[in-house]
Protein backbone atom coordinates (compact mmCIF):
# COMPACT_ATOMS: atom_id res chain seq x y z
CA UNK A 1 0.00 0.00 0.00
CA UNK A 2 1.30 3.47 -0.87
CA UNK A 3 1.76 6.10 1.79
CA UNK A 4 -1.03 8.20 0.30
CA UNK A 5 -3.42 5.23 0.43
CA UNK A 6 -2.57 4.60 4.09
CA UNK A 7 -3.08 8.28 4.89
CA UNK A 8 -6.53 8.21 3.32
CA UNK A 9 -7.45 4.98 5.11
CA UNK A 10 -6.30 6.49 8.40
CA UNK A 11 -8.43 9.56 7.77
CA UNK A 12 -11.50 7.41 7.10
CA UNK A 13 -10.69 5.38 10.20
CA UNK A 14 -10.52 8.45 12.47
CA UNK A 15 -13.76 9.73 10.97
CA UNK A 16 -15.51 6.45 11.79
CA UNK A 17 -14.43 6.77 15.41
CA UNK A 18 -15.47 10.42 15.53
CA UNK A 19 -18.94 9.28 14.34
CA UNK A 20 -18.99 6.90 17.35
CA UNK A 21 -18.68 3.82 15.17
CA UNK A 22 -16.97 0.85 16.82
CA UNK A 23 -13.90 -0.86 15.44
CA UNK A 24 -14.09 -4.66 15.36
CA UNK A 25 -11.20 -7.18 15.25
CA UNK A 26 -11.15 -7.89 11.51
CA UNK A 27 -11.52 -4.25 10.44
CA UNK A 28 -8.56 -2.47 8.95
CA UNK A 29 -6.78 -0.38 11.58
CA UNK A 30 -3.60 1.71 11.71
CA UNK A 31 -0.65 -0.24 13.11
CA UNK A 32 -0.31 2.35 15.85
CA UNK A 33 -3.92 1.79 16.93
CA UNK A 34 -3.29 -1.94 17.17
CA UNK A 35 -0.05 -1.52 19.13
CA UNK A 36 -1.43 1.09 21.51
CA UNK A 37 -4.45 -1.09 22.25
CA UNK A 38 -2.37 -4.20 22.80
CA UNK A 39 -0.22 -2.27 25.24
CA UNK A 40 -3.03 -0.64 27.20
CA UNK A 41 -5.38 -3.66 27.23
CA UNK A 42 -2.71 -6.19 28.19
CA UNK A 43 -1.44 -3.91 30.97
CA UNK A 44 -4.99 -3.63 32.16
CA UNK A 45 -5.33 -7.43 32.15
CA UNK A 46 -2.01 -7.86 33.98
CA UNK A 47 -3.18 -5.41 36.66
CA UNK A 48 -6.32 -7.47 37.30
CA UNK A 49 -4.26 -10.65 37.62
CA UNK A 50 -1.45 -9.24 39.80
CA UNK A 51 -4.11 -7.37 41.77
CA UNK A 52 -5.35 -10.69 43.14
CA UNK A 53 -2.11 -11.22 45.07
CA UNK A 54 -2.34 -8.52 47.78
CA UNK A 55 -5.93 -9.51 48.59
CA UNK A 56 -5.40 -13.25 48.23
CA UNK A 57 -3.03 -12.78 51.13
CA UNK A 58 -5.99 -12.32 53.53
CA UNK A 59 -8.56 -14.84 52.31
CA UNK A 60 -7.59 -17.52 54.83
CA UNK A 61 -7.48 -14.97 57.65
CA UNK A 62 -10.73 -13.08 57.04
CA UNK A 63 -12.36 -12.35 60.42
CA UNK A 64 -15.72 -14.00 59.65
CA UNK A 65 -17.33 -16.33 57.14
CA UNK A 66 -19.30 -13.38 55.71
CA UNK A 67 -16.10 -11.44 55.05
CA UNK A 68 -14.40 -14.54 53.68
CA UNK A 69 -17.01 -15.42 51.06
CA UNK A 70 -17.16 -11.77 49.97
CA UNK A 71 -13.38 -11.43 49.62
CA UNK A 72 -13.16 -14.76 47.83
CA UNK A 73 -15.86 -13.68 45.38
CA UNK A 74 -14.14 -10.36 44.82
CA UNK A 75 -10.77 -11.94 44.10
CA UNK A 76 -12.45 -14.43 41.77
CA UNK A 77 -14.05 -11.49 39.93
CA UNK A 78 -10.59 -9.95 39.45
CA UNK A 79 -9.44 -13.23 37.85
CA UNK A 80 -12.49 -12.97 35.59
CA UNK A 81 -11.64 -9.36 34.67
CA UNK A 82 -8.13 -10.43 33.73
CA UNK A 83 -9.56 -13.22 31.55
CA UNK A 84 -12.11 -10.98 29.76
CA UNK A 85 -9.33 -8.52 29.01
CA UNK A 86 -6.76 -11.08 27.87
CA UNK A 87 -9.24 -12.63 25.47
CA UNK A 88 -10.26 -9.18 24.16
CA UNK A 89 -6.56 -8.37 23.60
CA UNK A 90 -6.03 -11.66 21.75
CA UNK A 91 -8.46 -10.43 19.08
CA UNK A 92 -5.72 -7.96 18.07
CA UNK A 93 -3.41 -10.78 17.08
CA UNK A 94 -1.20 -11.29 20.12
CA UNK A 95 -1.22 -14.70 21.84
CA UNK A 96 -1.91 -15.31 25.51
CA UNK A 97 1.56 -16.84 25.92
CA UNK A 98 3.20 -13.75 24.46
CA UNK A 99 1.35 -11.53 26.92
CA UNK A 100 2.33 -13.72 29.87
CA UNK A 101 5.90 -13.68 28.64
CA UNK A 102 5.86 -9.86 28.59
CA UNK A 103 4.50 -9.74 32.12
CA UNK A 104 6.90 -12.30 33.51
CA UNK A 105 9.99 -10.72 31.96
CA UNK A 106 9.00 -7.26 33.16
CA UNK A 107 8.56 -5.96 29.60
CA UNK A 108 4.91 -5.18 30.31
CA UNK A 109 3.80 -3.11 33.27
CA UNK A 110 0.88 -3.49 35.63
CA UNK A 111 -0.67 -0.96 37.98
CA UNK A 112 1.91 0.17 40.55
CA UNK A 113 -0.61 0.16 43.38
CA UNK A 114 -0.24 -3.62 43.70
CA UNK A 115 3.40 -3.23 44.70
CA UNK A 116 2.37 -2.11 48.18
CA UNK A 117 2.02 -4.67 50.99
CA UNK A 118 -1.23 -5.65 52.73
CA UNK A 119 -0.20 -5.82 56.35
CA UNK A 120 -3.52 -5.71 58.25
CA UNK A 121 -7.12 -6.77 57.67
CA UNK A 122 -8.05 -3.09 57.30
CA UNK A 123 -6.03 -3.07 54.07
CA UNK A 124 -8.81 -5.21 52.52
CA UNK A 125 -11.20 -2.40 53.38
CA UNK A 126 -8.92 0.34 52.05
CA UNK A 127 -8.23 -1.53 48.81
CA UNK A 128 -11.90 -2.15 48.02
CA UNK A 129 -12.91 1.38 48.92
CA UNK A 130 -10.00 3.35 47.44
CA UNK A 131 -8.23 1.16 44.87
CA UNK A 132 -11.38 -0.29 43.33
CA UNK A 133 -12.92 3.17 43.69
CA UNK A 134 -10.13 4.75 41.65
CA UNK A 135 -10.27 1.86 39.18
CA UNK A 136 -14.00 2.48 38.62
CA UNK A 137 -13.31 6.14 37.85
CA UNK A 138 -10.71 5.06 35.31
CA UNK A 139 -12.87 2.33 33.79
CA UNK A 140 -16.35 3.79 33.44
CA UNK A 141 -15.35 6.07 30.51
CA UNK A 142 -13.82 3.03 28.76
CA UNK A 143 -17.24 1.42 28.39
CA UNK A 144 -17.57 3.79 25.41
CA UNK A 145 -14.12 3.29 23.96
CA UNK A 146 -13.74 2.76 20.21
CA UNK A 147 -12.48 -0.82 20.13
CA UNK A 148 -15.56 -3.07 20.38
CA UNK A 149 -14.09 -6.03 22.33
CA UNK A 150 -12.48 -3.67 24.87
CA UNK A 151 -15.69 -1.69 25.36
CA UNK A 152 -17.73 -4.89 25.83
CA UNK A 153 -15.24 -6.26 28.36
CA UNK A 154 -15.31 -2.99 30.28
CA UNK A 155 -19.11 -3.04 30.50
CA UNK A 156 -18.94 -6.44 32.21
CA UNK A 157 -16.10 -5.29 34.46
CA UNK A 158 -17.84 -2.10 35.55
CA UNK A 159 -21.04 -3.97 36.41
CA UNK A 160 -19.05 -6.17 38.77
CA UNK A 161 -16.85 -3.49 40.33
CA UNK A 162 -19.46 -1.71 42.38
CA UNK A 163 -19.81 -4.64 44.78
CA UNK A 164 -16.03 -4.56 45.26
CA UNK A 165 -16.04 -0.98 46.40
CA UNK A 166 -19.06 -1.42 48.65
CA UNK A 167 -17.63 -4.49 50.39
CA UNK A 168 -14.41 -2.53 51.03
CA UNK A 169 -16.21 0.49 52.42
CA UNK A 170 -18.30 -1.74 54.66
CA UNK A 171 -15.12 -3.24 56.15
CA UNK A 172 -13.74 0.27 56.83
CA UNK A 173 -17.02 1.45 58.30
CA UNK A 174 -17.22 -1.52 60.67
CA UNK A 175 -13.64 -1.00 61.88
CA UNK A 176 -14.09 2.77 62.20
CA UNK A 177 -17.10 2.20 64.46
CA UNK A 178 -15.35 -0.53 66.46
CA UNK A 179 -12.92 -0.48 69.38
CA UNK A 180 -10.24 2.27 69.50
CA UNK A 181 -7.71 -0.28 68.23
CA UNK A 182 -9.95 -1.20 65.30
CA UNK A 183 -10.51 2.43 64.42
CA UNK A 184 -6.77 3.04 64.59
CA UNK A 185 -6.23 0.12 62.24
CA UNK A 186 -8.69 1.61 59.74
CA UNK A 187 -7.03 5.03 59.97
CA UNK A 188 -3.60 3.48 59.48
CA UNK A 189 -4.78 1.68 56.34
CA UNK A 190 -6.26 4.92 54.97
CA UNK A 191 -2.97 6.70 55.73
CA UNK A 192 -0.99 4.16 53.75
CA UNK A 193 -3.36 3.74 50.78
CA UNK A 194 -4.54 7.31 50.21
CA UNK A 195 -1.55 8.69 48.32
CA UNK A 196 -0.85 5.59 46.20
CA UNK A 197 -4.56 5.64 45.22
CA UNK A 198 -4.22 9.23 43.98
CA UNK A 199 -1.13 8.21 42.00
CA UNK A 200 -3.12 5.38 40.43
CA UNK A 201 -4.96 7.91 38.29
CA UNK A 202 -1.71 8.61 36.46
CA UNK A 203 0.91 11.36 36.13
CA UNK A 204 -0.25 14.98 36.05
CA UNK A 205 -1.50 16.34 32.72
CA UNK A 206 1.60 18.48 32.08
CA UNK A 207 3.89 15.41 31.97
CA UNK A 208 1.45 12.81 30.66
CA UNK A 209 2.41 11.55 27.18
CA UNK A 210 0.18 10.41 24.30
CA UNK A 211 -2.99 11.92 25.73
CA UNK A 212 -4.19 13.60 22.54
CA UNK A 213 -4.05 10.44 20.42
CA UNK A 214 -5.76 8.47 23.21
CA UNK A 215 -8.53 11.05 23.45
CA UNK A 216 -9.13 10.76 19.70
CA UNK A 217 -9.41 6.97 19.94
CA UNK A 218 -11.55 7.24 23.08
CA UNK A 219 -9.01 5.28 25.10
CA UNK A 220 -9.20 8.29 27.34
CA UNK A 221 -12.15 10.64 27.79
CA UNK A 222 -10.97 12.79 30.70
CA UNK A 223 -7.49 13.89 31.72
CA UNK A 224 -5.66 12.31 34.68
CA UNK A 225 -5.99 15.48 36.74
CA UNK A 226 -9.75 15.65 36.14
CA UNK A 227 -10.15 12.00 37.12
CA UNK A 228 -8.09 12.55 40.26
CA UNK A 229 -10.15 15.58 41.25
CA UNK A 230 -13.33 13.56 40.74
CA UNK A 231 -11.95 10.79 42.95
CA UNK A 232 -10.97 13.19 45.74
CA UNK A 233 -14.26 15.08 45.65
CA UNK A 234 -16.31 11.92 45.96
CA UNK A 235 -14.08 10.15 48.52
CA UNK A 236 -13.48 12.89 51.11
CA UNK A 237 -17.14 13.05 52.26
CA UNK A 238 -17.17 9.24 52.52
CA UNK A 239 -14.18 9.36 54.91
CA UNK A 240 -15.87 12.08 56.96
CA UNK A 241 -19.01 10.01 57.19
CA UNK A 242 -17.19 7.21 59.00
CA UNK A 243 -15.02 9.53 61.08
CA UNK A 244 -11.68 8.89 59.39
CA UNK A 245 -9.19 11.61 58.46
CA UNK A 246 -7.63 11.96 55.00
CA UNK A 247 -3.86 12.14 55.59
CA UNK A 248 -3.38 15.45 53.79
CA UNK A 249 -2.93 18.64 55.87
CA UNK A 250 -3.43 20.77 52.74
CA UNK A 251 -6.80 19.25 51.90
CA UNK A 252 -9.40 22.03 51.95
CA UNK A 253 -12.78 22.68 50.36
CA UNK A 254 -12.50 25.47 47.80
CA UNK A 255 -15.83 27.23 47.83
CA UNK A 256 -15.08 29.25 44.72
CA UNK A 257 -14.10 26.30 42.54
CA UNK A 258 -16.60 23.93 44.12
CA UNK A 259 -13.95 21.27 44.65
CA UNK A 260 -11.20 20.26 47.06
CA UNK A 261 -7.69 21.70 46.99
CA UNK A 262 -5.13 19.08 47.93
CA UNK A 263 -1.46 18.73 48.76
CA UNK A 264 1.58 17.86 46.67
CA UNK A 265 1.80 14.24 45.48
CA UNK A 266 5.19 12.55 45.91
CA UNK A 267 5.84 11.69 42.26
CA UNK A 268 9.36 10.53 43.07
CA UNK A 269 7.85 7.65 45.00
CA UNK A 270 5.52 6.91 42.07
CA UNK A 271 8.35 6.67 39.53
CA UNK A 272 10.46 4.59 41.93
CA UNK A 273 7.65 2.03 42.18
CA UNK A 274 7.04 2.10 38.41
CA UNK A 275 10.74 1.40 37.87
CA UNK A 276 10.51 -1.68 40.07
CA UNK A 277 11.73 -0.35 43.41
CA UNK A 278 8.42 -0.49 45.29
CA UNK A 279 8.14 -2.49 48.49
CA UNK A 280 6.60 -5.55 46.81
CA UNK A 281 7.62 -5.52 43.11
CA UNK A 282 9.95 -8.51 43.41
CA UNK A 283 7.60 -10.42 45.66
CA UNK A 284 4.65 -10.00 43.25
CA UNK A 285 6.58 -11.18 40.21
CA UNK A 286 8.02 -14.09 42.15
CA UNK A 287 4.52 -15.21 43.16
CA UNK A 288 3.13 -14.75 39.65
CA UNK A 289 5.95 -16.47 37.78
CA UNK A 290 6.04 -19.19 40.44
CA UNK A 291 2.33 -19.90 40.01
CA UNK A 292 2.77 -20.12 36.23
CA UNK A 293 5.78 -22.40 36.38
CA UNK A 294 4.44 -24.67 39.08
CA UNK A 295 1.26 -25.04 37.02
CA UNK A 296 3.10 -26.27 33.94
CA UNK A 297 2.65 -29.96 34.70
CA UNK A 298 -1.09 -29.41 35.29
CA UNK A 299 -1.52 -27.70 31.92
CA UNK A 300 0.49 -30.41 30.19
CA UNK A 301 -1.44 -33.19 31.92
CA UNK A 302 -4.77 -31.61 30.92
CA UNK A 303 -3.65 -31.52 27.26
CA UNK A 304 -2.43 -35.12 27.40
CA UNK A 305 -5.72 -36.22 28.96
CA UNK A 306 -7.75 -34.32 26.34
CA UNK A 307 -5.78 -36.04 23.61
CA UNK A 308 -6.26 -39.47 25.16
CA UNK A 309 -10.01 -38.93 25.40
CA UNK A 310 -10.16 -37.78 21.79
CA UNK A 311 -8.24 -40.83 20.59
CA UNK A 312 -10.46 -43.16 22.56
CA UNK A 313 -13.57 -41.60 21.05
CA UNK A 314 -12.16 -41.89 17.53
CA UNK A 315 -11.30 -45.56 18.07
CA UNK A 316 -14.83 -46.26 19.24
CA UNK A 317 -16.25 -44.67 16.10
CA UNK A 318 -14.05 -46.92 13.95
Amino acid sequence: MSEAQIKSLEKQFDERIARDEKIEPKDWMPEKYRKTHIRQMSQHAHSEIVGMLPEGNWITRAPSLRRKVALLAKVQDEAGHGLYLYSATETLGISREEMYEQLHTGKAKYSSIFNYPTITWADMGAIGWLVDGAAIINQVPLCNTSYGPYARAMIRVCKEESFHQRQGFEIMMKLANGTPEQKEMAQDALNRWWWPSLMMLGPTDDVSVHTEQSMKWKLKRKSNDDLRQQFIDQTVPQAELIGLTIPDPDLKWNEEKGMYDFGEINWDEFWQVVKGHGPMNKERMKARVGAWEEGTWVRDAAMAYAEKKRNRKEKRVV
Binding site: D27, G80, S87, R96, R152, R299, M303, Y305
Partner: protein
Protein backbone atom coordinates in the same frame (compact mmCIF):
# COMPACT_ATOMS: atom_id res chain seq x y z
CA UNK B 1 8.74 -23.61 29.24
CA UNK B 2 7.19 -26.95 28.48
CA UNK B 3 7.42 -28.64 25.08
CA UNK B 4 3.72 -29.51 25.15
CA UNK B 5 1.08 -27.62 23.17
CA UNK B 6 -0.79 -24.65 24.65
CA UNK B 7 -4.48 -24.90 25.45
CA UNK B 8 -6.53 -23.87 22.39
CA UNK B 9 -8.91 -20.90 22.25
CA UNK B 10 -12.69 -21.40 22.52
CA UNK B 11 -15.56 -18.99 21.80
CA UNK B 12 -18.31 -18.86 24.38
CA UNK B 13 -22.03 -18.30 23.71
CA UNK B 14 -24.52 -17.92 26.54
CA UNK B 15 -28.33 -18.07 26.54
CA UNK B 16 -29.38 -15.74 29.34
CA UNK B 17 -32.86 -17.27 29.66
CA UNK B 18 -35.11 -19.59 27.73
CA UNK B 19 -36.79 -17.78 24.89
CA UNK B 20 -33.66 -15.79 24.03
CA UNK B 21 -30.88 -16.78 21.64
CA UNK B 22 -27.34 -17.73 22.63
CA UNK B 23 -25.10 -14.68 22.42
CA UNK B 24 -21.36 -14.50 21.99
CA UNK B 25 -19.84 -13.21 25.22
CA UNK B 26 -16.10 -13.77 24.86
CA UNK B 27 -13.50 -16.47 24.66
CA UNK B 28 -11.21 -18.54 26.85
CA UNK B 29 -8.52 -21.19 26.76
CA UNK B 30 -9.17 -24.82 27.71
CA UNK B 31 -7.65 -28.22 27.00
CA UNK B 32 -10.90 -29.77 25.74
CA UNK B 33 -14.62 -29.13 25.36
CA UNK B 34 -15.52 -30.31 28.87
CA UNK B 35 -13.01 -27.96 30.45
CA UNK B 36 -14.13 -25.17 28.11
CA UNK B 37 -17.71 -25.56 29.40
CA UNK B 38 -16.59 -25.58 33.03
CA UNK B 39 -14.34 -22.56 32.56
CA UNK B 40 -17.10 -20.73 30.68
CA UNK B 41 -19.40 -21.36 33.64
CA UNK B 42 -16.85 -19.78 36.01
CA UNK B 43 -15.74 -16.92 33.79
CA UNK B 44 -19.01 -15.82 32.18
CA UNK B 45 -21.89 -16.88 34.45
CA UNK B 46 -20.83 -16.06 38.02
CA UNK B 47 -24.00 -14.03 38.56
CA UNK B 48 -26.65 -16.24 36.98
CA UNK B 49 -26.13 -14.71 33.54
CA UNK B 50 -27.00 -17.94 31.80
CA UNK B 51 -29.14 -21.08 31.56
CA UNK B 52 -27.23 -22.66 28.68
CA UNK B 53 -23.70 -22.42 27.28
CA UNK B 54 -22.24 -23.28 23.88
CA UNK B 55 -18.50 -23.50 23.34
CA UNK B 56 -16.82 -23.93 19.99
CA UNK B 57 -13.14 -24.02 19.23
CA UNK B 58 -12.30 -20.68 17.63
CA UNK B 59 -10.51 -22.27 14.67
CA UNK B 60 -13.83 -23.77 13.50
CA UNK B 61 -15.44 -20.36 12.97
CA UNK B 62 -15.42 -18.92 9.45
CA UNK B 63 -15.92 -15.17 9.44
CA UNK B 64 -16.77 -12.84 6.56
CA UNK B 65 -14.09 -10.34 5.62
CA UNK B 66 -15.04 -6.70 6.36
CA UNK B 67 -13.18 -5.71 3.19
CA UNK B 68 -15.88 -7.53 1.23
CA UNK B 69 -18.72 -5.81 3.07
CA UNK B 70 -19.58 -3.84 -0.06
CA UNK B 71 -20.31 -6.79 -2.33
CA UNK B 72 -21.88 -8.79 0.53
CA UNK B 73 -24.19 -6.27 2.10
CA UNK B 74 -24.68 -3.31 -0.23
CA UNK B 75 -27.04 -5.14 -2.62
CA UNK B 76 -29.67 -5.17 0.14
CA UNK B 77 -29.65 -1.38 0.39
CA UNK B 78 -31.71 -0.70 -2.77
CA UNK B 79 -34.35 -3.40 -2.18
CA UNK B 80 -36.82 -1.03 -0.56
CA UNK B 81 -39.69 -3.20 -1.83
CA UNK B 82 -38.76 -5.70 0.89
CA UNK B 83 -40.14 -3.32 3.48
CA UNK B 84 -43.84 -2.73 4.20
CA UNK B 85 -43.51 1.05 3.91
CA UNK B 86 -42.76 0.69 0.17
CA UNK B 87 -46.41 -0.03 -0.56
CA UNK B 88 -48.88 2.87 -0.82
CA UNK B 89 -52.26 2.03 0.57
CA UNK B 90 -55.17 4.39 1.33
CA UNK B 91 -55.60 5.33 5.00
CA UNK B 92 -59.01 3.64 5.06
CA UNK B 93 -57.37 0.22 4.91
CA UNK B 94 -57.18 -1.00 8.49
CA UNK B 95 -55.23 -3.85 10.10
CA UNK B 96 -52.55 -4.10 7.42
Amino acid sequence: MSDKKNWPLWEVFVRSKNGLEHRHCGSLHAADEDMALENARDVYTRRSEGVSIWVVESKHITASNPEHNGELFDPAHDKVYRHPTFYDLPDEVKHM
